[in-house]
């Protein structure tokens, strides 16, 4: 009994305060956000049981200050020219084969894969979720803070409950689990490696995952891997974040 209470007390003392947990989320968000622009080349590999593997190559353009995002597919040939544009809180999808724009939700599965818009966009955890502390856990060689996040009312998020495992010393996300409103585990995401790059506009380093591995927990066997390369923080031409620019890429 004494041991139990000692453990409980230890746990309570080790538990961060709500402010500290919000601070952790803000750190995670801030480190991934660039004050200026962001460009990266991404490879999205989709594995589905019983189907041939699909690999997409896309370029992601972000202007975090204005919440603007462009994802332009460049490969394979059949997908080249398709793209997403997020402006004024609206996400649009363009398909050059029909030459039409369609409005999509913020929870859009990018290219029909297991990846969401949020996997490519700036991190907004502190804005969208309220954290609670679950415990400190070992995740391989890492000591991780296990946080449970509940979506704030009115926030437009795909998953109302998220569990995060954050590397305690570096504040890098190691693992993320997304849950449906019913409580069912929908997907588990691993971030095996984080990289950083100095941003002139921010005057600090920005962090980005080198690789994101997403496992579909409902349809077991389905897996999406996102590899992020060639991150560039140079200022982008404002015309990139327009429908006309995206349309011009398929002409």
């Amino acid at each position: 009994m004494l041991l139990f209470f000692s453990l409980l007390l230890g746990q309570a003392l080790a538990a961060p305060t709500p402010e500290e947990m919000v601070g952790t989320l803000q750190t995670i968000d801030d480190r991934q956000t660039n004050n200026g622009d962001y460009t990266s080349l991404v490879f999205i590999e989709q594995k589905e049981s019983g189907k041939a593997d699909l690999v997409y190559q896309a370029v992601v353009y972000r202007r975090d200050a204005d919440d603007k995002l462009v994802i332009l597919f460049v490969k394979p040939q059949a997908e080249a020219g398709k793209g997403y544009l997020r402006i004024d809180d609206n996400l649009f999808f363009y398909d050059p084969t029909v030459g039409k724009w369609e409005r999509r939700t913020e929870r859009e599965r990018i290219g029909g894969t297991g990846s969401n818009r949020q996997d490519f966009d700036e991190s907004r955890l502190a804005i969208e979720y309220t954290p609670t502390f679950v415990g400190e856990e070992k995740l391989g060689n890492y000591t991780a803070q296990h946080l449970k996040l509940a979506a704030k009312a009115g926030e437009d998020v795909a998953y109302p409950v998220v569990e995060l495992w954050v590397d305690a010393p570096t504040k890098n996300i190691l693992k993320r689990q997304d849950f449906a409103l019913s409580g069912k585990l929908m997907r588990t995401t691993y971030y095996p490696q984080w990289l950083k790059k100095y941003s002139e506009s921010k005057g600090a380093e920005i962090y980005f995952p080198k690789e994101i591995r997403i496992y579909d927990e409902v349809q077991k066997g389905n897996q999406t891997t996102v590899v992020i390369q060639e991150v560039d923080l140079k200022t982008l031409d404002p015309s990139i974040f327009t429908k006309a620019w995206l349309e011009s890429k398929s002409r």
Binding site: D156, A180, M186
Partner: protein, 446 residues
């Protein structure tokens, strides 16, 4: 009368020619009646399928927007809406409401996108009469030839019914659990695990993406209140009054201060983009008729009718040339006879009438016989319940069986149309016969 008697006698005298022509006209009539019955059968299937799975005769639905960007196909305060419908619909049979949605259906081995329909068995009057359980062998390799499951179990929570093609694709049988994944009206991912309680025989294209689930489960999945629904289906005593009723109810709701969308003859899921792009929040009602809700497949009936008439017109044209030629030969063979009749006082007009009467009598007899034979054949094929083996063809025919519907109006149309054509084809030879001078005709030697 004398003209008709003479025409009949002439037809009887040239038995072989008459028989050949009558056979050709009769066969075209059989074909026309058969094709039209098939087209009617497809239309029948469309009406049956649409008003079982997708719509009432008139549909009262709408969209709710909690923010200007996103629209949910739900209406609230359903009991008040139903009451207004019940009190203001002339020729009303009954009213039901069905909850509806769209989601990913996941089995242990597969997944597919499907339309979700929440049904309340207490409300359903015709649904359970119009469905048939599929034998287990239709969707499970080596399964029993008997149907398994009980569709009435959908009254229990966490249950669902699918059609055989879906069950086969998902690799499931009665008793298996499926996960339905969708987004709530607020945009959050939600799931529900439901047990398959029955597998139904396919009904065509619409049934290939329709999953029926417990009425309350669907609201739980969408995190909606109990007084919200997807659509109120209005069944009339006469389906032909659907358009009229739509106009009437539209005015009733406008007069009561409801916001009603302009009539757009499309199913609700084709309106999301338009409605999402409009700058309003709140609820707007949308009234449609059953045909609008399946407008994306009515092309099947239109195309089939077009092909039918195209084929028949070509065949009729060929037969018309044959009739013209035969009539002309007949006139030539009987030139001397016509000359004699003209010499003893028969007027030109009478000669023309005689030839035309022959054609009309021939046409009437042949088309009537052809129509009756065609109707008999169509009825026999329909009664034989011939299974269409190819799924793609089933989808186009909107049925897994060959369904032909013989309608009396079709027979009358076929008889009238083809007899008229026969008469028209005989005009030219008849006029030529009428123009023959008696002296030339009498001297004519074959």
């Amino acid at each position: 009368m004398l003209t008709i008697q003479l025409a009949l006698r002439n037809l009887m005298q040239a038995r072989r020619r008459t028989a050949l022509l009558a056979t050709a006209i009769g066969l075209v009539t059989v074909l026309l009646v058969g094709m039209l019955s098939w087209a009617h059968g497809i239309e029948d299937s469309l009406v049956r399928e649409a008003t079982t799975l997708s719509a009432g005769h008139v549909v009262l639905a709408g969209f709710t927007k909690t923010n200007p960007k996103e629209a949910a196909p739900i209406v609230s305060d359903k009991e008040t809406l139903k009451k207004i419908v019940q009190e203001n619909t002339p020729g009303l049979d009954y009213v039901i409401d069905r909850r509806r949605g769209w989601g990913k259906v996941v089995s242990d081995t597969e997944s597919l996108q499907s339309g979700l329909t929440g049904i309340d068995i207490a409300q359903e009057k015709r649904f359970f009469d119009s469905i048939q359980l599929a034998p287990e062998s239709d969707y499970v390799e080596g399964g029993s030839a008997d149907p398994v499951g009980d569709p009435m179990e959908i009254a229990n929570r966490h249950t669902c019914i699918v059609y055989a093609a879906q069950a086969k694709k998902l690799g499931v049988k009665v008793g298996d659990v499926l996960t339905i994944q969708t987004e709530t009206a607020g945009g959050q991912t939600n799931t529900i695990d439901i047990t398959l309680v029955a597998v139904l025989k396919d009904m065509g294209l619409l049934s290939s993406f329709a999953l029926l689930m417990n009425y309350d489960d669907l609201n739980e999945l969408y995190a909606l209140g109990p007084d919200t629904t997807g659509a109120i289906w209005i069944y009339l005593k006469d389906i032909d009054k659907a358009d009229e009723t739509l106009g009437h109810l539209r005015q009733v709701f406008l007069d009561k201060g409801y916001q009603v969308m302009d009539h757009d003859p499309k199913p609700f899921w084709m309106k999301f983009d338009t409605v999402s792009g409009e700058d309003w929040v709140g609820q707007k009602l949308d009234l449609t008729v059953w045909r609008d809700e399946v407008s994306f497949i009515t092309w099947v009936v239109t195309a089939f009718n077009a092909v039918t008439w195209f084929l028949v017109v070509i065949l009729v044209a060929i037969v018309a040339v044959g009739i013209m030629n035969t009539m002309w030969n007949s006139v030539r063979e009987r030139t001397a006879e016509i000359g004699t009749m003209r010499a003893i006082g028969m007027r030109r007009r009478r000669v023309v009438m005689l030839i035309l009467a022959e054609a009309i009598l021939l046409g009437l007899g042949a088309t009537t016989t052809g129509a009756l034979v065609g109707a008999g054949l169509a009825a026999a094929i329909d009664a034989a319940q011939i299974k269409v083996p190819i799924e793609a063809v089933q989808a186009i025919l909107l049925s897994d069986k060959l369904h032909l519907a013989v309608e009396p109006s079709t027979l009358v149309q076929a008889i009238f149309f083809l007899t008229l054509f026969t008469a028209l084809a005989a005009i030219w030879p008849a006029v030529r016969a009428g123009r023959l001078r008696p002296i030339t005709a009498i001297q004519h030697v074959e």
